[in-house]
Amino acid sequence: MSVLEISDLRMSFGSHQVLQGLNMVVPENSIFGFVGKNGAGKTTTMRIVVGLLKPDSGTVKVCGEEVVYGDTKTNRHIGFLPDVPEFYGYMRPMEYLKLCGEITGLPSKKIKERSEELLELVGLKDVNRRIGGFSRGMKQRLGIAQALLNEPKLLICDEPTSALDPIGRKQILDILASIKGRTTVVFSTHILADVERICDRIAVLDQGILVLSGTISEIQKQYQRNSFMIKFATADQAAEFSASEELQQLGVKVVQEENVLAITIEDHSLRGQVLIDLLAAKQITPEKFEVVEPTLESLFAEVVQ
């Protein structure tokens, strides 16, 4: 079942068209990385989903219900963490969560229980000072707590780690990973290492349309380039193998860097075995033979170039 369905979403600011017919489906219980360059339309998409912006056309469904601008009924399924969550500096974390709980209509007892549980989850249980004195990382963590207060089916986080230090980033990613299976998380970012670390599905947005979507393994398989890395004992041995007639006959692209050859076989019907057979025929025992998986970074660069 899908938690979020976006169909033919279009939105422009003046003459600049930000979204140009975006289609996207987020399956239940996944951690969905929503990737794109700055200005690709990630924040606009998220703000449309939570009813803060009105699209020019297209539909957005959350848990099967259509999102209607100005009527935020679908928000009962959603928890939203903006890129820079802002709070009332004169409040304490418990007070703020109580305010949020009262707005969502939770009973007082439930608000108290849930607030304590969430403040523990985000590591702010013993922090009883005013939010005005919080660091950026603490605010992000409190932002996650407020977003999870109503036990949402869908948690939307807009670049939650982009301005944090490595420790703050790790804390946020750990929290998001810990709720996997209970809540579907859509998490926009341009930090691909974060996506690789916790997401099981990704969608890449470029110039307002989706250019790539699926599970990370599916995408890596799809963009597999039949590439190999062979490390030889010496640079001369690598050069000799690179220049050999048998290798050239396979139709390969070879790049040498000292004693390492990066070889891409253009013919997809051939497998790495042909290289192993060739090495054996030449009685060369390489120090290392590796199948090169495409990295998310290389894929991203390829699809958004």
Partner: protein
Amino acid sequence: MSHFRVFFKKEMVEHIRTYKLLIMLVVFFIFGIMNPLTAKLTPELLEKFMPEGVLISLPEPSSIDSWAQFYKNITQMGLIVTVLVFSSVLSSELSKGTLINLLTKGLSRTAVIMGKFAAMLTIWTASLATAFVTTWGYTVFLFSDDYSANLFSSVFCLWLFGVFILAVLLCSSTLAASSYGALLLTGAAAVCLAILNIFPKAWKYNPLSLAGKNMELVTNSIMFSSLSYAIGVTVAAAIALLAAAVLIFKRKQL
């Protein structure tokens, strides 16, 4: 708990913790003390600081002078302080983005506008009441005359004008991007009302009359009923401004 009650409570806590309530009460209390005192001391001070040999004949100060000070101070400085204190009531939330979390939790935008207005109204009422009660008590203490009439009806007119100004300010805040924009629009509205008073017949309907004819009520120069059209127009305009504020805010993309 309804969204209006939740948000009104949040607004009141905000005004208390950010000292806005305290500032308003202290300023209006000072005005309350100053009015009768200024009325009492002005003739004495004038006499004292006159050059030697110059004789000045001033009538004995009365409660009328005290209330004249009250209406002069509150309609000028009092309203200016009120507008300045509340000028960023909506614009700061919009520019900082503090409403985003609450709106995405389903908080109704009508509740935001009405909650903010109700909190401003409460503080304005409490502040004006503070100034009024202080001036009244001190006036009774210093001037034992009964020249002043229609005290409640005259202060009601001023209170209603204040309510109207708050509605203008809130509506302006939904239109303008910053607190300066809201102040500018509110100032422009006040100037328009003042220009309208150039036409002699306009005062009967002009909300500004509620802040200009108070002393005429106190001295019994006009009847309260002569302001009924102005009261009707002011109430209708305040309701219309609030409705406009809600409509504009509902359409505002955040």
